[in-house]
Symmetry: C2
Subunit: 194 residues, 2 copies
DNA sequence: CGCCAGCTAGAGCGATCTATCTAGATTATG
DNA sequence: CATAATCTAGATAGATCGCTCTAGCTGGCG
């Protein structure tokens, strides 16, 4: 057996949510995709769909946070390069999945921002964590902490927006173009080398 | 009488879609919000929900395109100022509406990008039109056409992403911060004054 | 073995969804 | 005024929604 039922449910949810949104995905569909029995759903998530949704958001949020850290650790000391890598990781994911694998949070976030406080909160926490991760790297590259926090928000916003455009247009150009401009902006903010 | 039934349906749809998404909004709710009889819905939009959705997207897309042009015409010759105004228009809208009035397209766009080709196409056309409008203004401020097209994509991406973050966090800071950085980026791209 | 958790299995409830259909009201036009 | 086109009105179908419920299965432990 691969993973336990609970995890399979979380990952099936996350995948379906990012492709078709929260309201657009039925619980039946989730159990089918996760190969999990219907009864298990309400055993593991007694709070129902909202409970499952919040945990699925947190789950893939944490998953991507790890991915962030891995990418940042790879191109060590070269933050700008890492940020660029991130945009291109998304380019690959979109192409490989046939424009399905965008941001696992944004689709849900927009849907629920005005309709479910617990879900909105879960999404907000994920974005905040991502933001903090980016800010930390910018700061350790020599940018003042306050400025690093601002730039992190900016980088994340540009990233999320570029995914929206690329996914909608079925074209990776928005991601690639935005990556270039953001990279240039960041380079200009770094303290002079040597 | 204010506006005709068809228009009321389109605008009620657009408003509800951007708050709760496409799948999250029922046709019953739309007719109620638009003060329109149920029978009229399938009279004006025989293609059903998808037909209504596509027209609603196009309708508010065109509406915002006009708003773009009005804002750009106002701060004449000062493109950067206009772009900044745009971000702050969204700041006001979010605050005034209690975080409901974000982008009328993005929510639907993410939901349907992988599930409905006609709807995705409608969203893509709106983004393309907005992009072209921004590019035109940047070009007439002296930026080379190719570069203006790239920067337009970048501006729109940053704008859309900042809305996602602000709406999710219930905080206008992402929009304000992103506006500043984008404005600075654009200023650096403009040909030297005088 | 007996026992008790943890988990699986799915029938079924009321509500709601999109969509269809027919009939009546309204408006424009000859 | 008569007639046709347009629009309104709502009952209803059939499917699906999230969710509850009970019963049975499974495995660890005394």
């Amino acid at each position: 057996m691969a993973k336990d039922t609970r995890t399979r449910l979380l990952e099936a949810s996350a995948q379906l949510f990012r492709e078709q949104g929260y309201s657009g995905t039925g619980l039946k569909q989730i159990t089918a995709a996760g190969g999990a029995p219907w009864g298990s759903l309400y055993h593991f998530f007694p709070g129902g769909k909202e409970h499952l949704g919040a945990e699925a958001v947190a789950h893939s949020g944490a998953r991507y946070l790890k991915l962030f850290d891995r990418v940042f650790a790879q191109a060590d000391a070269e933050v700008v390069r890492s940020v660029r890598d991130f945009f291109h990781l998304s380019v690959d994911a979109l192409e490989r999945s046939g424009w399905g694998d965008g941001c696992p949070i944004a689709t849900v976030a927009l849907e629920v921002a005005s309709t479910s406080e617990p879900l909105r909160h879960a999404c907000a926490e994920v974005f905040a964590a991502w933001e903090a991760s980016i800010a930390r790297r910018l700061a350790s590259a020599g940018i003042a902490e306050d400025r690093a926090a601002e730039l992190a928000v900016y980088v994340l916003a540009a990233f999320e927006g570029a995914i929206v455009l690329s996914r909608t247009a079925h074209d990776t150009r928005p991601l690639r173009v935005t990556a270039d401009v953001v990279a240039a902006t960041l380079t200009a903010e770094l303290p002079a080398q040597r």
